[in-house]
Structures are given as structure tokens and as C-alpha cells.
């Protein structure tokens, strides 16, 4: 809007502040709860200002017993598990799908389109639909309670394959021909030309997939029974239910706070590339 009316500005700012408040309030309460003693959160009214026990709670949550009376691993261990799983899924998905897209776009082989459609159709089969057979396979392979079991079944990805296919299709044929005249073989072309050209798309996909992996709930819940292998998403839920006494909000909220950090860090770190990867069309 070009007009400059003070009342309109005021209104716009109020609307925005209200929006921010609604979004930020739960996070603020999480932070506040994480900085008080356990008992303080049970008294009404609940505090709206942070208390003085933040570092203490942080230490107890990360390295201590965590929840007293519950059989959960220390939170650093669960964060590590989540991190390994999220990174494994993101890296695995990108690696597998960029290679399959490369095969589908740049090689002529029998049933090429059939393979493409087979990959494409798996879009209709998310983990939740095939969870029992997948569990069967993973358990037969002896992968329960392992990082392999956590990541591999989630790695196959039609979406990412499809995305890379579209990216490769925008790269002009002359690029390939020029590389052929320069004497680059298929793998050389892949490493020297395709990978650098898809760099921003890889970054964008990495952000999306990392968050997807980090937020996984159902699958890790199913295949991890060992408390040392459980992920942070599961343990937050378990913490709420586990203790017989009233929930220890300071620990639970601290865990939630810690669980929020890695996705935020990834988004902030890769923001620039992320936007470029989703919008850039100039090859």
C-alpha cells in the first residue's frame, strides 16, 4: 500500500503483534516452564516470567537421570539418536533419489518409463500404509533397535526423485553434449556438472527432509524398544505419561525446547540456499 495513514499503520502493527503473540506464546511458556523448579509449574497461577533454574534444569535434562522415577535415557542420547536418524534420512534420500533421477533422465534403458512410474506410484504408499510389512522386513533383517532400522525404511523417496528429475530436465541438453565433447563420461558429468548445478536444490531438499526425519514419530515408536535407541520425539510423549507423580514440567519443557533447536538451526543456516533452491530457474 502506498498511502501513509497512521491509523492504518497502527492497525497493521497491532494485527501483526497479535499474530506473533499467538504463535510465540506457547514457546515462551515452554521457555518459562523450563526455567522454574518442578513444583512451581503446578501452582496456579502459572508463572509468566522466567525463573532462576534454567541452567540447573538444562544440566539435569541433558546429562542427569532426566525424569526422576522414569526409565528414559538421558536426553543428550535421545537428541543424538534423533540427529543421526534425521541426518541419515535426509542424506540417504538425497543420495538415492539424485542417482535414480540421473538414471531416469540421462540413460536409455528398457522399461525406463516403467521404472519411473513404479517410483512415482510409491507416492501413494507412505510409511503409515505399509508399516506392518515394513516392520516385518526390518525385524526379519534384525534391524530393530538400530540406526539402520530407523533410517533405511524411510529413505526411499518418490518426491525427491521426482524433484531431481524436474531439475535435471531444466538443464539444457547442450550441457551434456558439451561435456561429452569435452570427454566427460557419465560419472564425470554427474560429479562435475550435475551435482554443482543442483547444489541449491539439494540444500532445499535437505532442509525439508531433515525436518521430516526429525519429526518422525510412528516409525521410531514401533521399532525402538531399547531406551538407548529411542528418539527425542518419542521420549517427550513418554515423559508425559511415564511418571506416576505429577508431570515434571521443567524437565519436559526443557526437552521440548532442546528438540526444537536443531530444525530451527538447520532452517536458519540454510535459509539462503533454501529459498534459492525453490525459486531459482536460471540454469
Amino acid at each position: 500500500m502506498i498511502e501513509n495513514r497512521p491509523w492504518l499503520n497502527l492497525f497493521a502493527h497491532l494485527a501483526l503483534i497479535l499474530g506473533v503473540a499467538i504463535v510465540a506464546l506457547p514457546i515462551w511458556i515452554t521457555f518459562v516452564a523450563a526455567s522454574h523448579e518442578a513444583a512451581r509449574m503446578m501452582q496456579a497461577p502459572i508463572p509468566m516470567l522466567p525463573g532462576g533454574h534454567f541452567w540447573e534444569n538444562l544440566r539435569a535434562t541433558l546429562f542427569g537421570e532426566g525424569l526422576s522415577g522414569a526409565e528414559t535415557a538421558p536426553v543428550w542420547r535421545m537428541l543424538l539418536n534423533s540427529l543421526v536418524m534425521a541426518l541419515g534420512i535426509a542424506a540417504g534420500k538425497i543420495a538415492i533419489s539424485i542417482i535414480s533421477a540421473f538414471a531416469i533422465v540421462y540413460f536409455k534403458f528398457p522399461f525406463r518409463m516403467a521404472f519411473f512410474w513404479m517410483i512415482f506410484i510409491t507416492l501413494m504408499l507412505p510409511v503409515e500404509v505399509r508399516i506392518l510389512p515394513t516392520y516385518e522386513v526390518v525385524s526379519d533383517l534384525g534391524l530393530l533397535n538400530s540406526y539402520w532400522g530407523l533410517t533405511v525404511p524411510l529413505i526411499a523417496s518418490a518426491t525427491a526423485t521426482f524433484m531431481f528429475r524436474q531439475v535435471f530436465l531444466t538443464i539444457p541438453d547442450e550441457m551434456l553434449e558439451s561435456a561429452r565433447i569435452d570427454g566427460a563420461g557419465p560419472l564425470r558429468f554427474f560429479w562435475d556438472i550435475l551435482l554443482p548445478l543442483s547444489r541449491t536444490n539439494i540444500a532445499a531438499l535437505f532442509v525439508i527432509l531433515f525436518i521430516y526425519g526429525w519429526n518422525q514419530y510412528l516409525w521410531p515408536l514401533l521399532i525402538t524398544t531399547d531406551r538407548d535407541m529411542s528418539t527425542v520425539m518419542i521420549s517427550i510423549k513418554q515423559m508425559l505419561e511415564a511418571a506416576e507423580q505429577s508431570p515434571q514440567w521443567n524437565i519436559i519443557m526443557m526437552t521440548a525446547l532442546l528438540a526444537m533447536l536443531p530444525p530451527v538451526a538447520v532452517v536458519i543456516a540454510m535459509q539462503k540456499l533454501f529459498v534459492k533452491g525453490l525459486t531459482e530457474t536460471d540454469k
Binding site: 547442450e174 558439451s178 561429452r180 565433447i181 569435452d182 566427460a184 547444489r199
Partner: protein, 349 residues
């Protein structure tokens, strides 16, 4: 250095034949321009020489070597593409060096060759820039540089100037010509622009629907076009064609005017007269009803119809002239061409 030989080169996609047996003998150091309308198969021909398209039948020889089944990189060629096909993530220097690096050339030798090419093309100040930071003309130069550093036996150009604006095109055209002369590398240049073809080529190959219509020097094509197609394609503005009836030594125009027949024939034929070969003459036999004028400064183009008919005619007059529309102008024919009415082939003089 080496010449190129094409022997009965055929290309088909399924049942569709794109090239119907092309023969050509290109001498060492010669620059051949393949010219024709879009879809005539000229790019396919070039890509077959490059090794980017498989050969259906026939042979391609570079030097003494049959290259039909060799990879593009083994053919000792370099190609300049219409959209340049520079690697966008590499600097100019890396773009030029990439092919040499793959060949396993020593670092020092690569640097020497890149610097040499950069000097020739005046690219020195841009060596560390990315292609997107360059103008169209500079990108074009980088694409040429990438070809030069390889020291190939053959240069292949696939409409390299069609993405440039008109002024730059003229400038780059001259530069390509100078460069090719200087390096003495056998070249094949594909274009649909007949001016580019006339100015660049030692010889022109006019291609139409996968068949060579004529293969010869620019002047030969201009003065003795082998068919109506070549006559209409080479020269600007295009040649005028009129259906005539030949009786003895005379060619009779549709409006009854009689011209001396340029070749021996009988019955129906097609008469060709270039716009620049008609000279104003009050007693001339060709009468044109003027419709539109195009003032080009150095010349004036008169568009009109042959008097009493609907046949369109164009005449080029020197300097600034201003005949009024609707007026009848009379011309004397200079050089005339006679073609067979059915096949369009040139009739012997």
C-alpha cells in the same frame, strides 16, 4: 589438420528419413557453411559429424579416419553451440580448461593454452568471472575459447550467432571468419541466415528437406543457382519468379511481354530475375505497377505487381527514389535465370 569427407550420409528416425545421402568433400582448412530453412536437417548433419547423433548409413571421415563409431571426445573436434552451453558454475578459465583437464593434460600446459586463447579472444580480464556475469558477446567468445584451447582438427558451429543482437552478430561474424583464417582449422558452420552464409563460407551447402540442393562457392550460388529453391534462398531481397512460356528465343511473360530467353527450352518454365538486376528503362519490356516503397537510404525497394497480373515483383533501385504508388515503371532485365517449371531445376544456358 585434416579435411572432412561425407559419403552418402543418411539419417532416419524410425521411418522418417531426415537426410537423404549427403556427399561432401571438405578440404583441409576450408570453411563450409551449411544453410537451409529450419527442419532441413542441417543441425542433424552437424551433430552427426560431432558424434552426438548416430549415423544410420554412410561414412564420415575426418582426415583419413572413419569416425562413425567414435565418441565425440575421440573425434578431435570442438563445437560451439547456439546457447553456448557454458558450465554456469565454473569460471571462464575453468570452462575453457575443463576438456583439457579431463584429457589429463599438465597444469602448466592447460594454463598456457587458456592464456593463449584468452589473448586471441581478448578475454583476459574476464578469466575469473562466471558466465552469468558476462554479456552475450563475451559468452560467445568463451564458447569459442573453449573450442580453441583443444587445438582440434575440426570446428563445428551450430548457429552460434543467432542469440546475439544484429550489430554484435555482424561483428562476431567477422571475428569468426578472421579467427578461422588465422587458425586454418577445417570448419563446418550451420546457419539459417543467408547473409551469414554468404559472408562466412568458402563454400556453401544449401540443404532442403535433407537433400543437397547445391554445393559451391557463394558467388557460384548467386550467379548460377541450381534450382528455384537455391535462387530464392540466396540473395536478399529474394529473386522474383514468374511463370513464362518459352517460344524459340523468347520467354513470354503472363502479361504478354516478351523477354529474351536465357536458356533453351520449350513450353512452360519459371523465369527468375533478381531485384537488383532490373534497371529502370522507359523502353524496357517489364512493366511493374508500384504499390509500396521501402527506403533503405542506399537503395530503394519497389514492391508491386507485374502490370495486368497478380504476380508480385520486387525491384531494387540505387539511392533514394520516389516513384508514386499506382504508377507504372518499366524495367530492362539484366541477368535472367530459367528453371524447369515442374522440377524447379535450372535449365542449361
Amino acid at each position: 589438420m585434416a579435411g572432412i569427407k561425407l559419403e552418402n550420409l543418411i539419417k532416419s528416425y524410425g521411418d522418417t528419413r531426415i537426410l537423404h545421402g549427403i556427399d561432401a568433400d571438405i578440404a583441409d582448412g576450408e570453411m563450409i557453411v551449411v544453410v537451409g530453412p529450419s527442419g532441413c536437417g542441417k543441425s542433424t548433419l552437424l551433430r552427426m559429424v560431432a558424434g552426438l547423433e548416430a549415423v544410420t548409413a554412410g561414412r564420415i571421415l575426418i582426415g583419413e579416419r572413419v569416425v562413425n563409431d567414435l565418441e565425440p571426445s575421440q573425434r578431435d573436434i570442438a563445437m560451439v553451440f547456439q546457447n553456448y552451453a557454458l558450465y554456469p558454475h565454473m569460471t571462464v578459465r575453468q570452462n575453457m580448461a575443463y576438456g583439457l583437464k579431463i584429457r589429463g593434460m599438465s597444469r602448466a600446459e592447460i594454463a598456457r593454452r587458456v592464456d593463449e586463447a584468452a589473448d586471441i579472444l581478448e578475454l583476459r580480464p574476464y578469466l575469473d568471472r562466471k558466465p552469468r556475469q558476462l554479456s552475450g558477446g563475451q559468452r560467445q567468445r568463451v564458447a569459442m575459447g573453449r573450442a580453441i584451447v583443444r587445438h582440434p582438427q575440426v570446428f563445428l558451429f551450430d548457429e552460434p550467432l543467432s542469440n546475439l543482437d544484429a550489430k554484435l552478430r555482424v561483428q562476431m561474424r567477422l571475428e569468426i571468419r578472421k579467427l578461422q583464417r588465422r587458425l586454418g582449422v577445417t570448419s563446418i558452420y550451420v546457419t539459417h541466415d543467408q547473409v551469414e552464409a554468404m559472408t562466412l563460407g568458402d563454400r556453401l551447402m544449401v540443404l532442403n528437406k535433407g537433400v543437397v540442393e547445391q554445393f559451391g562457392s557463394p558467388i557460384e550460388l548467386y550467379e548460377r543457382p541450381a534450382s528455384v529453391f537455391v535462387a530464392g534462398f540466396i540473395g536478399s531481397p529474394a529473386m522474383n519468379f514468374l511463370p513464362v512460356r518459352v517460344e524459340g528465343d523468347a520467354a513470354i511473360l503472363p502479361n504478354g511481354a516478351r523477354l529474351p530467353a536465357p536458356a533453351r527450352a520449350a513450353g512452360e518454365a519459371t523465369l527468375g530475375a533478381r531485384p537488383e538486376h532490373l534497371t529502370p528503362d522507359e523502353a524496357g519490356p517489364v512493366a511493374v505497377e508500384v504499390e509500396v516503397l521501402e527506403q533503405l537510404g542506399a537503395a530503394t525497394l519497389v514492391h508491386g505487381r507485374l502490370e495486368g497480373t497478380q504476380h508480385e515483383m520486387t525491384v531494387q533501385l540505387d539511392g533514394v527514389r520516389a516513384p508514386e504508388a499506382g504508377r507504372i515503371m518499366r524495367f530492362a532485365p539484366g541477368q535472367l535465370h530459367l528453371f524447369d517449371a515442374a522440377s524447379g531445376k535450372r535449365l542449361a544456358d
